[in-house]
């Protein structure tokens, strides 16, 4: 019963709540029970507030005017600020940090009535593709607990895949929503840069970061995106554009659709089984009347290098604020102020964060700035142009989300470059600021989910939801929770 309950979509849950077929208390109890039974094994949460969530469930009025999420349990990635609740970015340097304010996107889901049950695990400061670098221990993939759930929003993806919550919020800088969603067999959406306010999202790379939903269905992703989108005076990069009702307007029209297939996303380095499954998804769209055309994104191979130069440069600057003065613990022993900063940071940051701060500092340092950071920003212009040219020939682009299905725990964590290559098919869209959705389309021969990614022009959210919904209907994969053993 409880599994069935948590397998329902947000819309179905909302209807059942309003018809009094289920109560918010039953729903939250089901979530707590799943958490207690499974999270010891997968470790998808860094904090889980059972008592308080039950209390809120008892008090909530689920009538429609109280919002589309009234009484529904959701999870937040641990880098989204919520006033009074520990928000740590999976890092010791923010141990016990309780922000004095709430992120705009979090406020939006609270105002929509959601019960936030806890914070999901993540790679430290969102720097990773496997959720193995968190100070709170690694997260396991619910489909195969010897494998990674992807990252950095691996806790959010695993919690949804395990059916602990029907949906969660994540953040995506170079694929951190889409890659873990793909590895975990759930839907992940990165909105157009600026569609969702970043106010209260602890910054990694400000020109790339975007908050988005991780859900089990495309409709749920549309609903959550609609709720969290919009202009926010507190984030001057948020777009001052009206937010359409995505969820209620899903209407796939494949007849006049042109789907671009970029050769660069199917070539070397992409697993054959992944390629076959995603090409089948393209054929499914064709059978519905869509036209497939070849497009070229010639800078794909260099884009991932440009991404790591730009992202680490921005990170080294953003993370300068963690110095033991305003937040987090301070080193106990030091000689002077500079040594206090340096010792606090040495004790507080993990290896991958140190690596990226050092790299970012290097590419910004005098003598190297032009050769690395300046050059990467020029390459970024060409990456944007590649997409613009492609969208003259097609409405959207279909690709695999990741080069492989989920890999084994520990298999890449000691090889930074191999780990970075996970983002090769997702990071270019962040550099260009474009929206992209991932959804599972089939399982590979190991029974692991394999996902397709749809990339659209700026603010083409509705079309992406429409066509992703169609693919969800056409593909062999049925939205479901992972079959975890108790």
């Amino acid at each position: 019963m409880e599994t069935e309950l948590l397998d329902l979509s947000l819309n179905e849950l909302q209807n059942k709540l309003q018809n009094s077929e289920i109560s918010p208390v039953e729903l939250v109890e089901a979530s707590i029970s799943r958490y207690q039974n499974f999270d010891k094994e997968i470790n998808s949460f860094v904090s889980f507030n059972s008592k308080e969530s039950l209390q809120k469930a008892r008090e909530v009025d689920v009538s429609r005017e109280n919002g589309p999420l009234a009484g529904i349990p959701l999870a937040l990635k641990d880098n989204l600020c919520r006033a009074g609740y520990a928000t740590t970015c999976g890092s010791n340097i923010l141990e016990g940090h309780r922000p004095p304010y709430t992120a705009t996107a979090v406020k939006a889901i609270e105002e929509a009535g959601a019960i936030i049950v806890g914070n999901a695990n993540m790679d430290e400061f969102a720097m990773g593709s496997s959720t193995e670098t968190s100070a709170y221990g690694l997260t396991r993939n619910p489909w195969d607990t010897e494998r990674v759930p992807g990252g950095s929003s691996g806790g959010s993806a695993a919690a949804v895949a395990a059916g602990i919550v029907p949906a969660a919020l994540g953040s995506d800088t170079g694929g951190s929503i889409r890659q873990p969603a793909a590895f975990s067999g759930v839907v992940g959406f990165k909105p157009t840069y600026g569609r969702v306010s970043r106010y209260g999202l602890i910054a990694f790379a400000s020109s790339l970061d975007q908050i988005g939903p991780i859900t089990r269905t495309v409709e749920d992703a549309a609903l959550l995106t609609e709720i969290i989108s919009g202009h926010d005076p507190a984030d001057s990069t948020s777009l001052d554009q009206p937010v359409p009702e995505y969820h209620g307007n899903i209407n796939p029209k494949p007849e006049n659709l042109t789907v671009g297939i970029p050769a660069e996303y199917f070539g070397e380095g992409v697993d054959e089984e992944v390629e076959t499954i995603v090409r089948q998804a393209a054929s499914d769209l064709k059978a519905e009347g869509a036209e497939l055309v070849d497009v070229s994104l010639s800078t794909t191979e260099q884009a991932i290098s440009a991404y790591y130069v730009i992202a680490t440069a921005e990170a080294s600057s953003n993370l300068a604020r963690f110095d033991g003065v305003r937040y987090g613990p301070r080193a106990q022993e030091f000689e002077d102020m500079i040594d206090m900063y340096s010792q606090t940071r040495a004790e507080g940051f993990g290896a991958e964060v140190k690596r990226r701060i050092m790299l970012g500092t290097f590419v910004l340092s005098s003598g190297y700035y032009e050769a690395y950071y300046g050059k990467a920003q020029k390459v970024r212009t060409l990456i944007k142009r590649d997409f613009e040219n492609a969208f003259e020939k097609c409405d959207l682009i279909l690709t695999p989300t990741t080069p492989t299905a989920a890999f084994k725990l520990g298999s890449r964590v000691d090889d930074p470059v191999q780990m970075y290559m996970n983002d090769v098919l997702t990071a270019p869209t962040n550099l260009a600021g474009l929206p992209a959705i991932t959804l599972p389309v089939d399982a590979n021969s190991d029974g692991l989910p394999v996902a397709a990614q749809l990339i659209g022009p700026s603010l083409s959210e509705q079309m992406l939801f429409d066509i992703a919904y169609l693919l969800q209907e056409l593909s062999p994969w049925e939205p479901c929770s992972a079959p975890l053993k108790e």
Binding site: H97, R98, P100, T192, Y193, G194, S207, L208, P233, S236, T237, L239, T299, E301, Q302, S305, A306, Y308, V309, S316, D323, V325, R326, Y327, G328, F334, D336, M337, S342, Q343, R345, A346, F349, K354, R355, M358, L359, T361, F362, V363, S365, Y368, A371, Y372, G374, K375, A376, Q377, K378, V379, R380, T381, L382, K384, P416, V417, Y420, A432, G433, L434
Partner: protein, 96 residues
Amino acid sequence: MSVVDQEISDLARLSRLNLTPEEEEELGEDLNEILEFAEKINEVDTEGIEPTYHALPVNNVFREDEVRPSPSPKPALENSADSVDGYFVVPRVIEE
């Protein structure tokens, strides 16, 4: 291009990170490997290309210059390791 040992300790200083000799050695190797990977950007001809710092054509955003509520010092200081009388406390910087 590669990062030499001297630069690793300079970078650590600029990054405000106290590193152990072992960490410096490991990071040196990692950074050289990552930089080799980063240098793929040199395969792209960017002659005459303008840089992109921001993905969307958003210009300066102005707002009215008016007083608005802001957090009081108390919540702003609550996460600090050391504060007194509404101020952050840091180690002494200027000698007596």
